[in-house]
């Protein structure tokens, strides 16, 4: 039996999962229109490869991966491209994003699919295939999977952790996938294992999903895979990658490192499934399992095409009359869909119809009483109330000292806060502000560099000019002297005079230059002082952000990166209730 470890903190909200597991995964009918956003994962925005009027086949590439950390996007079904235009994004802001609008032709005709034998290919080719097939983390982070399939050069790969915990309330898409398609998941994990060569493979599933545990165990046994399928205690956020790694391996991945630096890597079960489809069937990611639950008549999991508009999707479940909105994701980390036109995307694991009864209005925010409940439940062992005080006071440097970028926005702190403070919102506000300032600072630094370069060039040019002038003058003086010398031949010591004249000329032109240089020096000094001052008040640890942290930030920010910054609900200046 594998020894399990504990992570600190966490909460136990009502899971509300039973409602949606009664029925098997249904295949959602073809919608009348699809709006496929080109940017569905972390990293570069894929370039559109189709134009309005073009006919596309199911699985045809419509957005090419841009850069290594980027994942391709494909047509979810066959049909005609109606437009490549801005369309509302699956994002709380309601902002638009470049999307390909496809009118299905009803034939659902696949493009030619070419399976590969991953065992016979070089690892780079397999990673490339995953990139071309648009395989990304389907647990919600949507980080391109191929980018995580390279082991650290210095640290041996010890554990491959597969995340089937699914700790958020209401969501059951991974549960059903594990129950119904366990074999393909195991095969997909096999692909990851072959690429990373870990010593052990650990599949973690919360112990409230015994069927899924049994299914994966059976599948692993059948395929002769030596994977440990482990039931982990049900406690939110056990499905956070770092928490699951901690539970299964005892390792704590600090925010300053990549998990591979500790010899461990983590993927979601649905990601393994899509990876296998891509490798063994040549199928790119064009659909995913989405839980439709909450205030609907028929809660259930559906295999839905990416790009399906929310309105058509929720109709499958029959929303009850008092439905007042839809959440994408779980109730702890999800967000409200902006409009009914917003499409399902690779990150959409769950749609919850809300009602006042399910999610009652929040009680008014009270002042923090420093009870420490939030710190008790924070899985990253932060002091949320300190972060809150500093964020509220806009003391962003302090928020960084208290590790705001280690916050995964899991919402545990808000969940328990007796003063009902929307802590996560304050943290997002602080993070966004810090990023904004960082950007500003970078822009200013660039401008300064440009200015300095220009000044230096001007100075150089001036100096060159002056030198030329001086030389010319000197030459002239020398000539004159020579002439004089020639004219008054026999007179004593003409040469020193000429030399003196020659040296005198540049000296004479020096004063104006000096004044200018002094002015420039003064400006430069002022700039330097300003920079130093800025650096002093500026957040410190942004400068030291590691790639892993940047990745985390990117993941955290993925949902709101195109959005305006949400300000905290109350004016932060008002320091008292």
């Amino acid at each position: 039996m594998l020894q399990l470890f504990k992570f600190k903190g966490g909460v136990k909200p009502q899971t509300n999962k039973t409602q949606s597991v009664g029925e098997p995964i249904g295949v959602a009918p073809l919608p009348s229109r699809l709006f496929v956003p080109l940017h569905q994962s972390i990293g570069g925005t894929p370039r559109p490869l189709v134009a309005a009027g073009e006919r596309v086949l199911k699985g045809q590439l419509i957005g090419g991966a841009d850069g290594w950390i980027s994942a391709a996007v494909h047509a979810p079904t066959s049909g005609t491209v109606r437009a490549v235009a801005e369309h509302v994004a699956a994002h709380p802001s309601g902002l638009t994003t470049l999307s390909v609008e496809i009118e299905p032709d009803g034939r659902d005709e696949w493009i030619e699919r070419t399976p590969i034998d991953h065992g016979a290919l070089a690892p780079e080719r397999v990673r490339e295939r995953l990139r071309e097939a648009g395989v990304v983390g389907l647990g919600g982070a949507v980080f391109p999977t191929h980018g995580k399939l390279t082991a650290s050069k210095t640290v041996p790969m010890e554990e491959l952790v597969i995340n089937g915990a699914e700790c958020e309330p209401y969501i059951t898409c991974d549960d059903l996938l594990m129950r119904e398609r366990a074999e393909e998941i195991v095969r997909g994990v096999g692909v990851f294992r072959d690429l990373l060569q870990p010593k052990r493979v650990l599949i973690g599933i919360e112990d409230n999903k015994p069927e899924a545990v049994a299914a994966l165990q059976a599948a692993a046994a059948k395929l002769g895979e030596n994977f440990a399928v482990v039931a982990v205690p049900t406690r939110y956020p056990a499905g956070g990658a770092k928490q699951l790694i901690r539970v299964l391996t005892g390792k704590e991945v600090p925010s300053t490192k990549r998990s591979t630096d500790l010899g461990v890597q983590c993927f979601n079960v649905a990601t393994a499934y899509t990876a296998w489809r891509a490798v063994a069937h040549g199928e790119p990611v064009v659909s995913r399992i989405v839980t439709l639950t909450g205030n609907v008549e028929r809660p259930r999991n559906w295999e839905a095409l990416l790009g399906t508009p929310l309105a058509e999707f929720v109709a499958l479940g029959g929303p009850k009359p008092d439905t007042d909105g839809y959440l994408m994701g779980g109730p702890m980390m999800g967000f409200a869909m902006p409009t009914m036109d917003a499409p399902l995307v690779k990150a959409t694991n769950c749609i919850i119809a809300s009602s006042p009864a399910l999610f009652p209005p929040k009680a008014p925010e009270m002042p923090c009483i420093r009870c420490g409940e939030c710190a008790k439940v924070c899985p990253h062992e932060l002091q949320p109330f300190e972060l809150y005080w500093f964020a509220r006071a806009k003391n962003f440097g302090k928020t960084q000292e208290y590790h705001i970028f280690d916050c995964i926005e899991c919402g545990c702190c808000s969940f328990v806060c007796p003063s009902r403070i929307p802590l996560v919102q304050y943290f997002r506000f602080a993070k966004s502000e810090i990023w904004a300032r960082e950007k500003e600072k970078n822009a200013a630094d660039q401008a300064k560099a440009r200015f300095e370069w220009k000044t230096a060039r001007e100075e150089r040019e001036k100096a060159e000019k002056a030198e030329k002038l001086a030389k010319a003058a000197a030459a002239q003086a020398a000539k004159k002297a020579a002439e004089a010398a020639a004219a008054a031949a026999g007179e004593a010591a003409p040469a020193p005079a000429a030399a003196e004249a020659a040296t005198n000329v540049p000296a004479a032109t020096n004063p104006p230059l000096d004044a200018e240089a002094a002015k420039k020096a003064a400006i430069a000094a002022a700039l330097e002082r300003a920079r130093a001052q800025r650096a002093a008040v500026e957040p410190k640890n942004v400068d030291r952000l590691t790639p892993a942290q940047q990745k985390d930030i990117a993941e955290v920010d993925a949902r709101r990166q195109q959005a305006g910054i949400e300000a905290p609900p109350t004016a932060p200046e008002e320091s008292q209730p």
Partner: protein, 340 residues
């Protein structure tokens, strides 16, 4: 639905719930109090509560804050009850009203209201009153005194004279005075043998009241409302010092059990040093806070000029709490191994 921000799912915690649990935890102590000293303490509690609520409402009005969540959050009531329990039960009515006013108006609202007060309001009330009215604050009825409720009420409302026989001193005070009067001729053990005053453990009657506080405190701990760190450290600080000196010279110093169960020790340990607003927040900080407060309370109690030292000890530590917090920040996830 409120779409502003996740999480959309919250548990049922509220400030009011926290405060109600604290009030509930005070009930065993209050029960013992009433049983031993009669129901006059309930009058004091009612006086303090009414004053606190009125002051709270007035201050909210003045500060242009809504009455709605704040008046009913229970925090003022907790302060009121603590004051009523910390003051002598036969103290004149205006003393408790003054103390409560001071606590709510100055110690709480002038510092910014709920969650902003650097000092524990109840302890401020106690300290201010004991400095201003030392005599009144030191007169405690002996448990053996059999006085009807009507007579007690007459004393509180100034309708009957405050006779020395009625209003004595706390066991702590009695011990201190006794030691001083006898100037070493009589040891602590002989003094404590006077069961009329000192009961079996730590003062007749008082030991039951403080045991009630202990019970309530343990219940709060079980419910997760308070952590064990501060109370345990407080009691440890107190007993360690008491124990050390008692072992050193049992004739001069009372045993730790006496100190644990007399005066404000138990009330302080479970209901005062656990105050989250004015105390420390980190586990290590709570230990330091509690231990220092306990030790300091002992020092003031035994060597200082006041009958009990809990209030002054707590106030002094309140002053240090922010600093202690800064230096006791726990290591975060993934950062415990310093070598990383």
């Amino acid at each position: 639905m409120d779409f502003s921000t996740p999480p959309y799912l919250l548990n049922n915690a509220s400030v009011q719930r926290v405060m109600l649990q604290v009030l509930a935890a005070l009930l065993p102590g209050i029960g013992a109090y009433v049983w031993i000293f009669g129901p006059i303490v309930l009058v004091q509690i009612a006086l303090a509560t009414a004053t606190a609520l009125a002051a709270e409402a007035a201050m909210l009005r003045l500060r242009e804050k809504p009455l709605a969540p704040f008046l009913t959050d229970g925090s003022a009531v907790v302060t009121a009850w603590l004051i009523a329990l910390a003051f002598p039960p036969l103290a004149p009515w205006w003393l408790i009203v003054t103390g409560t006013l001071f606590a709510v108006v100055i110690a709480k609202h002038l510092y910014g209201g709920l969650g902003q007060n650097p000092f524990n309001p109840a302890m401020i009330a106690f300290a201010v009153c004991i400095v201003s009215f030392p005599a009144l604050m030191s007169q405690w009825p002996p448990a053996a005194l059999d006085l009807g409720f009507a007579e007690q009420a007459r004393i509180v409302f100034g309708l009957a004279p405050r006779v020395d026989a009625i209003v004595g001193a706390t066991p702590l005070d009695a011990l201190k005075t006794g030691l001083k009067l006898e100037e070493g001729r009589v040891g602590v053990s002989q003094l404590l043998d006077n069961r009329e005053v000192f009961g079996a453990v730590a003062g007749r009657g008082w030991e039951w009241v403080t045991a009630g506080y202990l019970l309530g405190g343990l219940w709060l701990w079980r419910r997760g409302v308070v952590s064990w760190h501060a109370p345990l450290a407080f009691l440890a600080g107190l007993s360690l010092l008491a124990g050390g000196l008692w072992l050193y010279d049992p004739a001069q110093f009372a045993d730790p059990l006496f100190h644990l169960f007399s005066g404000g020790a138990m009330l302080g340990a479970w209901f005062i040093v656990t105050d989250p607003v004015s105390g420390c927040t980190t586990p290590k900080g709570k230990l330091i806070f509690g231990f220092s407060a306990g030790a300091l309370a002992y020092v003031i109690r035994v060597f200082g000029g006041y009958p009990d030292g809990v209030a002054f000890a707590v106030l002094l530590l309140n002053l240090c709490a922010p600093l202690i917090d800064v230096y006791t920040q726990p290591a975060i996830f993934g950062m415990k191994d310093k070598s990383r």
